[in-house]
């Protein structure tokens, strides 16, 4: 088990490293004369050169990257060029918001998708047809359109939830729930659709397996066989899809945060992108990559817990 974890961890670290190299090279090489862009066309060449030296931009790229990397290991991702804030601080303070809606959406998607998928696979008939149809529509419609419809219906027309703004959990738990409900629902619908399809398929597959018949022949009730044996065997493929969905939800959060005016990492990314604030963009990219790697590692562990063959290989 330990070698398995270490191997996955190592490949995750390598992946983040490679992403950091590529992102750094593209962001810092592609931007042209960065100091000039920050200061505007009216600045004198001397001032621009001074600015470039301040930012370390006069160094060779490799040296710049090495500096960045060594500070990054110490938890320092540099400062924003425009606000002067520490990137690590602004990224981590916003990460809580993003992760709370993305993890919330992932959990809800997992639960609802399992319920729908099992229901569709076992009952068949019209329930199956309805679940399938809703899945196709949920998959097809982009999440931000769903978010817009939710805002229009529940916030503007019915006034049930606040349309925008974020209330930290610490200051008011009920206010927090009210502020994240619509974003979480908007995010989760697409994931529910995809994961439910996968659960349905793998439950159908597991149900047709010989061991299901044999377990039932031993006097175990069908419910017991489905919820203990079938779900465990169907869990692997469903988890794999959920892992992919998590990455999708992280991307979806960028737009959803904008719609609901949530101060998450997506909002930070949009602001930084618009302004050309490269250190912040770099920080967002690295933070996202680390989150994805960690989540994939967790999902791998869950896979190993479910499936003995994964554990041993």
């Amino acid at each position: 088990m330990l070698p398995f974890v270490l191997r996955r961890l190592a490949s995750g670290v390598v992946l983040v490293f490679v992403i950091s190299v590529i992102a750094y090279a593209l962001l810092y090489l592609g931007g042209g004369d960065i100091a000039r862009r920050i200061l505007g066309q009216n600045a004198t060449d001397d001032v621009v050169a001074q600015k470039a030296a301040d930012l370390g931009l006069d160094q060779p790229l490799l040296a710049q990257y090495f500096d960045w990397l060594t500070s990054a290991f110490g938890g320092d991702l540099g400062r924003s060029w425009f606000t002067g804030q520490l990137v690590a601080v602004s990224v981590s303070s916003r990460l809580a918001v993003t992760l709370s809606i993305v993890i919330g959406a992932t959990i809800i998607a997992a639960i609802v998708a399992v319920v729908l998928g099992v229901l569709a696979a076992r009952r068949g008939g019209w329930i199956d047809n309805v679940v399938q149809f809703v899945s196709v529509i949920g998959f097809a419609i982009p999440g931000f359109l769903i978010a817009l419809v939710l805002v229009l219906v529940f916030a503007i027309n019915l006034g049930l939830f606040k349309a925008t703004g974020y209330v930290p959990f610490a200051s008011s738990p009920s206010g927090w729930i009210a502020s994240v409900t619509l974003p979480v629902v908007a995010l989760s619908i697409g994931a529910i659709a995809t994961v439910a399809q996968q659960v349905r398929g793998s439950v159908l597959d597991a149900l047709s397996r010989d061991y299901v018949r044999t377990l039932r022949s031993r006097g175990l009730s069908t419910n017991r066989v489905v919820y203990k044996h079938v779900l465990r065997n169907a869990g692997g493929p469903a988890l794999a899809v959920l892992a992919v969905q998590f990455v999708g939800l992280l991307g979806g959060a960028v737009i959803v945060e904008q719609i609901f005016a949530l101060p998450g990492i997506g909002q930070l990314a949009v602001q930084a992108t618009g302004a050309g604030d490269i250190p912040v963009v770099m920080g967002v990219v690295i933070a996202t990559a680390i989150i994805v790697v960690v989540v994939n590692l967790l999902i791998d562990l869950a896979q190993a817990a479910l499936n003995p063959k994964v554990r041993l290989s």
């Binding site: 992946l15 992403i19 590529i22 593209l26 962001l27 592609g30 931007g31 196709v136 998959f139 097809a140 419609i141 982009p142 931000f144 359109l145 817009l148 419809v149 805002v151 229009l152 503007i156 697409g190 995809t194 149900l207 397996r209 010989d210 061991y211 018949r213 044999t214 377990l215 039932r216 022949s217 031993r218 006097g219 175990l220 009730s221 017991r224 044996h229 992919v244 990455v247 999708g248 939800l249 992280l250 979806g252 960028v254 737009i255 904008q258 992108t273 618009g274 050309g276 604030d277 963009v281 967002v284 990219v285 996202t288 990559a289 994805v292 994939n296 479910l306 499936n307 003995p308 063959k309």
Partner: protein
């Protein structure tokens, strides 16, 4: 919005009989989706030409104007005509999606072909790239790119196309890997065709249909992500796109909620049409593959696993079909001999005129068992013999209440120790299965749950069915493993199914079947999947357990050798009917039905895997009988 790329799980191969297009149009959903997409495409081409105004013509008087005769959809916050903008935006949005699509298609397909056909280092690089792309949400990459290259729709969509390339890569790679080792590709190579020709002739034709399906999905994703970016206000706001119109509508959501509707509808309907089209195409392809497979299977059952039998009889009408001639024919019954009579009168399982049918797609029912009557006496070993497709396994499953999906009892009755099973519900059956009737399956490896240890699969029924404590159940399971001849019970108890051999797994399954002390065990071809040497051991084990526990055994088999070895009485099944029935010696000595005789002939062909009549309790008379059988079979001219 999400860049989750799930390629079609299976790679359906096109049939070529009817074109994919025609099959898609035949379905209403397919026809509607395709028609809608054609309209969108048409608008994309001629939209700017039919637009009543310049899409960027702003007018202060018209800011957020309501729909009117001159401006049917009103005007936006810049006082620009919404209809004209919508028409112009369709062109740009579709073209932008196409940039991503074509980029992904070219990179993915070419890389997939090269990696799949030549393998080597390219293979590793490509899979690393895939992992890299999967590690970041597409929109984050696009945001980062936007910081460098600025607000160009086209640049963004080109980059997104690179991110989408793995969707095609994996599809093509899998298809090429599967095809490259096929014989016809080898043949093409030997006959001197160039790699390029092989790829275009033999490989591209296989992946063409899946690529079209994937393209529909990718186009939907590209439209979603592109309008998402524009919606965030990160695009070039002077260019009309669905996303930038949505952005304008969202900013004015309180003042003019209708503004949001048109671009939303355009995005949503186009995305839905693309997804539905992809689904319809996939269904159309998968269905043809299924039909083909079913046809192939039907042929396989018709030829049967005991080819000798089917050819010698010559009246076989497809594996599980209704045979009117056979139905009219009454079962040939032989009177009990001494050995069988000893157990007469104490019937525990009584099956009367059992009929089993499967619901068909057209609402009809296909009957596969046409009125089987069978009685099993306490403590006897009863053979149910017939070729595959004769309905013997269906009969066994019906007794257990475990017919596959779609199957049901359509007539007759099953009476087990005074309980009617044919009408029993799930709860009644749960009390009977395991504790009163045990089941030993055919294929050992697939009948153990791969995710649980062998021990836990043995313990669970003991705890649930018999209510034993965990400790008692574990002890009992270990004792059973020892009893069925497993050398190291503790190790096997803790092992997972894939860690033991097939013979061991079958012993585990036998232990499981007898663990709850049932009065009847149904063994469905218990030795067919095993090695010849292991077969004999497992049969010995079954015989010993049966004698030791005095349980009845219904042995479903196609092998007369096994029957001769173990059974007291035999029922011979063909085409869903019992054609002959009697004590084992009567069947061997005086078989009347031609089918029975041909089956007996087949064991002579199967070779002396095991002496036809072995075992301590068989007398000299039996062996003489066997000789008579051989003589009768030869004289009867069945061979």
């Amino acid at each position: 919005m999400t860049t989750a790329i799930t390629p079609p799980n299976t790679i359906p191969t096109p049939t070529g009989r009817t074109s994919l297009l025609r099959r898609v149009i035949r379905r209403p959903l397919g026809a509607i989706s395709l028609a809608f997409l054609l309209v969108v495409a048409l608008i994309a081409v001629i939209g700017p030409l039919i637009a009543p105004y310049d899409p960027n013509l702003a007018s202060l008087q018209l800011v957020l104007a309501q729909p009117s005769a001159e401006h049917p959809l009103g005007a936006d916050s810049g006082g620009r005509d919404v209809l004209s903008r919508l028409l112009a935006a369709t062109q740009i949005s579709i073209a932008a999606a196409l940039v991503a699509l074509v980029t992904a298609l070219l990179i993915g397909v070419i890389a997939g072909l090269i990696a799949g056909y030549y393998r080597g280092w390219f293979d590793n690089v490509a899979s690393w790239f895939t992992a890299l792309v999967m590690a970041l949400p597409g929109i984050v990459v696009l945001l980062a790119a936007r910081a460098v290259v600025g607000p160009s729709v086209w640049a963004a969509m080109f980059i997104f196309g690179i991110l989408l390339a793995p969707a095609y890569f994996r599809l093509v790679y899998a298809a090429v890997s599967a095809v490259r080792s096929e014989l016809y590709v080898d043949a093409a190579r030997v006959s001197g065709l160039s790699d390029l020709r092989i790829i275009s002739r033999h490989i591209l034709s296989v992946v063409r249909a899946p690529i079209i399906i994937q393209s529909a999905i990718v186009a939907g994703i590209a439209i979603a992500i592109q309008s998402g970016l524009e919606f965030l206000g990160l695009g070039d706001m002077s260019v009309p796109t669905w996303g930038s119109m949505l952005n304008d509508g969202f900013i004015n959501i309180y003042k003019a909620p209708l503004l949001m509707m048109w671009p939303s509808l355009a995005i949503a309907l186009t995305s839905i049409a693309l997804t539905l089209l992809a689904n319809v195409m996939r269904d159309a392809l998968e269905r043809t593959v299924q039909v083909r497979r079913r046809r192939r299977r039907a042929v396989a059952t018709a030829t049967g696993s005991i080819a000798a039998v089917t050819t010698s009889i010559g009246t076989v009408t497809g594996g599980i079909g209704l045979d009117a001639e056979a139905e009219a024919e009454p079962t040939i019954r032989h009177a009990d001999d001494e050995r069988a009579a000893a157990r007469a009168g104490d019937t525990i399982l009584d099956v009367r005129d059992l009929r089993i049918g499967y619901g068909q797609d057209d609402g009809g029912t296909l009957e596969v068992v046409h009125g089987v009557s069978l009685d099993i006496r306490r403590g006897e070993v009863h053979g149910l013999i017939g070729e595959s497709g004769s309905g013997k396994t269906q009969t066994a499953f019906a007794v257990l209440g475990l017919l596959p999906r779609g199957g049901r009892i359509t007539g007759g009755s099953i009476d087990y120790e005074g309980v009617r099973l044919d009408t029993a519900g799930e709860r009644e059956y749960t009390a009977i299965r395991g504790r009163r009737i045990g089941y030993i399956p055919q294929e050992p490896m697939s009948n153990l749950d791969p995710s649980f240890t062998i021990g836990s699969q043995l313990v669970e029924p003991l705890r649930v069915g018999l209510g034993l404590s965990k400790k008692d159940a574990t002890e009992k399971a270990l004792a059973l493993l020892e009893r069925v001849g497993i050398p190291d019970p503790k190790r096997t108890f803790a092992a997972y199914p894939h860690e033991v051999s097939g013979g061991m797994a079958q012993r585990v399954l036998i232990a499981g079947a007898v663990s709850t002390d049932p009065d009847l065990i149904i063994a469905d071809e218990p030795t067919t999947a095993l090695d010849v040497t292991v077969q004999a051991e497992v049969l010995d084990l079954l015989r010993d357990l049966q004698a030791e526990r005095q349980m009845a055994l219904l042995l479903v088999t196609h092998n007369f050798g096994v029957v001769a070895d173990l059974c007291d009485r035999v029922s011979v099944m063909q085409h869903g009917l019992i054609v002959e029935h009697g004590p084992v010696r009567a069947i061997f000595g005086r078989a009347e039905h031609p089918y029975t005789r041909s089956l007996l002939g087949a064991i002579l062909d199967e070779g002396p895997a095991r002496a036809p009549l072995g075992g301590a309790d068989i007398e000299q008379a039996d062996i003489e009988d066997a000789d008579i059988v051989k003589a009768a079979v030869v004289k009867g001219g069945a061979r």
